[in-house]
Symmetry: C2
Subunit: 338 residues, 2 copies
DNA sequence: CTGAAAGCGCTAACAT
DNA sequence: ATGTTAGCGCTTTCAG
C-alpha cells in the first residue's frame, strides 16, 4: 500500500544500486543470476511498475503511436483500428486516438503531438496532410508517419492501401459479365482522390467492355446514405436509366437501394447494385450487398508493422504497399431483366 | 531546424530564467506584460512545444485517459468513443485506446497502465473488473474509473448507463399496444448483467399486460447475427410461434429478420421485430428497424465529464447516472395479422 | 558484472 | 514579478 514503489525502493531493500535494478528489470542480460532473481522477486512482490513518464523522458520515446481518422464515429475505420491496435500491443506500443472531423487545425495539432513526445509515430487515415506551419508549407517526407486506407497525393510517405482503381474495375466487370450495358456510377466527392481512383476504375472497365458512359451516368455523393439516395433518384429520372449501379462505398449503395425500393424497383431483379468497402453488417442487409471487400484489419496491421519498422530505423518501402481486395458477390447483383 | 527547442533555449535567447518561461507559457498569470509577450513570440517563432514526458514526470499526471472496450471492432462502441474523445479533447486530455477481447489479463494490464502513469483515469466499457492481483481480489472503489454503457455489479464505481429494464419494458409495451400477445424475447448471454436487465424489462412488461411467458419464448443469443438467426429458428419451430420478437440488441434483431425472411415470413406483416441499441445504419436496413436508441455519444461525453470531475477532485455521484433512451418506431413493427 | 553520477526537460518551492 | 534551486524516476555512460 502506501506509496508507489520506485526503483530506488527495490534497490535499497536489496542493497544493490538503482542501476542494477533497472538493468535487471529491462532484461539487458547484464545482471548475474543471484541478483537477477532477487530483483525480479522483489519487484513482483512490491508490485512494481516503472513510471512511464520518467522512462519516456529518459529514453526520449513514448512507446505510443497516434492513429488519426477523420471521424471515429464511422464504422469504416473500425477494423483498421483493430488491426493497428493488435499490432501495436504486440510490440508494446500504446495507441492514441485522433479524430480530426476534417478540421485542419486539429490535423495539425496531431502532428504537433508527434513533436512534443506524445507519440513516436502516426498512422494517418485522413487522406490529407495539414499545411506545415511556419516555413514553406511542405512536410518532410521522413516523418514517422504511415498513411493507411487513404492516400495523399504527391507525398512520399509510405502508404498502405488497396488498388482502388483495379478493384473498382473488377466490380464493374462483374456487372458487365452479368450482361449489363447501362451501368452508372455513384462516386464520392469529385475532388477526393480515392473517389477519383474508383471512378477511373469504373471508366476503364466500361471502356474495356466498349460501353458508353454518358455524363449523366457519373453521379457524385458524399459517401453518406442520403447522398446515395439522391444520386439514385437523379439517375432514375433520366430518360434512359441504368440497369446497374456501382457505388463508391457501401453506405451510398444502401442509400441507392433504399431509393430503388421507393421507386418500386427490385434489387437485383430490376437493378443491380455493387458497393465498395464491405462494412460491418453489409451482409446482414437485405438483400445482402455485393461489394468490394478490403482486408481492413490487415491494412491496419500492415500499417502498424511498417511504422514499427520506421521507428526501429529499418527503413521504409519505396512504393505503396498494396493489399488484396475481394469482390464479395452476394445478392444485389443479377443479370438484367429481359 | 536543427534541434527541438527546449524551455532553456527560449530563456537564454531572451535573457530570462527558465522558470519564467514556463510560467508564461502555462498562463499562470504570474508573468508581467513586457516579458509575457516576448516569451510568447519567441516560443511561437521557435515553434516550441513543451516536452510532455518531462512535464508529466514533474506534474505526475499524464493528461491522458484510457478508454477500454471489449472489442474495438464492434460499432456498438463507436459513438461512445466519439463522445469520450470530444469531451477529452476539450479538456486537453488525450485518449488511449484499450481493447480487451474479453481477456482478463489484458483487462488487468489496462489497470496497470493507470498505476504506471500511462493514464490518469479510465473509462471502462467492458462490464467486468479483473480480479485484483495480489491481495484480497477486491478493487478499491476510489480508482479514477468510470463505468460506461455496461455495468459492474457490486461495484461502487460511478456508472453512466441507461435504464435497461425500463427501456426494454417500453419496447415490449409498444408491441403489446399494437395488439401482440405472443411476444418472444431473444436475450443476450444468460449470465450477462445487461442481458438480465433487458430480460427483466421484457418480463415486467409482459406481466403488466397480463401475458404469459412460456419458457420457450425466452431465447438466448450471443449478441451476434448468427445467434439471433438461430434463436429465431428455434422460436419458429415451436408449436405456437410468436407474432413478435423483442431482441436484446440490433444485431440479433437483424439475424432474426434474416431468418424470418428465409422462412417466408414477412416483417412486419407476419412478425414484428424490435431491437435494442440503434446502431449505425440501423435505419438503412430494410425494413428500417424499430429499436431502442441510446444516446451513445452523450453517454461517452457524460462519462468523460464525470471522470474529469473525479480527476479534479470534485467528487463523484453516489448513484448511477441514467441517460434517457428513445424508442425509435420505424418499420419492423405493426399490428399482428388477423 | 555492478556502482556512482549525471541528466532527460520541465515545474514548483523558496527566495528576492 | 522574476530568479535560483531542486528534484520528478528513470536509464546510461563511465569507472572499476
Amino acid at each position: 500500500m502506501s506509496q508507489r514503489p520506485r526503483i530506488k525502493d527495490i534497490a535499497e531493500r536489496l542493497g544493490v544500486s538503482p542501476a542494477t535494478v533497472s538493468r535487471a528489470l529491462s532484461d539487458t542480460g547484464l545482471v548475474a543470476e543471484p541478483t537477477l532473481s532477487r530483483i525480479r522477486e522483489a519487484a513482483s512482490e512490491l508490485d512494481y511498475r516503472p513510471n512511464v513518464s520518467a522512462r519516456n523522458l529518459r529514453t526520449r520515446r513514448s512507446m505510443a503511436v497516434l492513429m488519426v481518422v477523420r471521424d471515429v464515429g464511422n464504422p469504416f475505420y473500425l477494423e483498421v483500428m483493430k488491426g493497428v491496435e493488435a499490432a501495436a500491443r504486440e510490440a508494446g506500443y500504446a495507441v492514441l486516438m485522433g479524430n480530426t472531423e476534417g478540421n485542419a487545425d486539429r490535423e495539425a495539432s496531431y502532428f504537433d503531438m508527434l513533436r512534443d513526445g506524445h507519440a513516436d509515430g502516426m498512422i494517418l487515415m485522413t487522406g490529407t496532410l495539414p499545411a506545415r506551419p511556419g516555413s514553406g508549407g511542405e512536410w518532410p517526407d521522413d516523418l514517422p508517419v504511415v498513411v493507411a486506407l487513404e492516400m495523399i497525393e504527391g507525398s512520399a510517405l509510405p502508404h498502405v492501401q488497396i488498388d482502388n482503381e483495379g478493384a473498382a474495375a473488377r466490380a464493374v466487370a462483374h456487372l458487365v459479365a452479368l450482361g449489363h450495358r447501362r451501368i452508372a456510377h455513384i462516386g464520392g466527392p469529385a475532388a477526393e482522390i480515392m473517389a477519383k481512383r474508383r471512378r477511373a476504375g469504373y471508366r476503364r472497365a466500361m471502356a474495356e467492355a466498349g460501353l458508353p458512359v454518358p455524363a449523366s451516368y457519373e453521379e457524385h455523393g458524399d459517401y453518406l446514405l442520403r447522398g446515395g439516395q439522391e444520386a439514385c433518384r437523379r439517375l432514375f429520372s433520366l430518360r434512359e436509366p441504368p440497369t446497374a449501379i456501382f457505388a463508391a462505398n457501401d453506405e451510398m449503395a444502401f442509400g441507392a437501394i433504399h431509393e430503388l425500393r421507393r421507386l418500386g424497383k427490385e434489387v437485383p431483379g430490376d437493378v443491380s447494385v455493387v458497393g465498395f468497402d464491405d462494412i460491418y453488417l453489409s451482409e446482414a442487409f437485405y438483400p445482402p450487398l455485393t461489394t468490394v471487400s478490403q482486408p481492413r484489419a490487415e491494412i491496419g496491421r500492415e500499417a502498424m508493422t511498417l511504422l514499427l519498422g520506421i521507428l526501429a530505423g529499418t527503413g521504409k518501402p519505396d512504393s505503396p504497399v498494396l493489399m488484396p481486395t475481394t469482390l464479395k458477390i452476394r445478392e444485389t447483383t443479377a443479370a438484367p431483366r429481359g
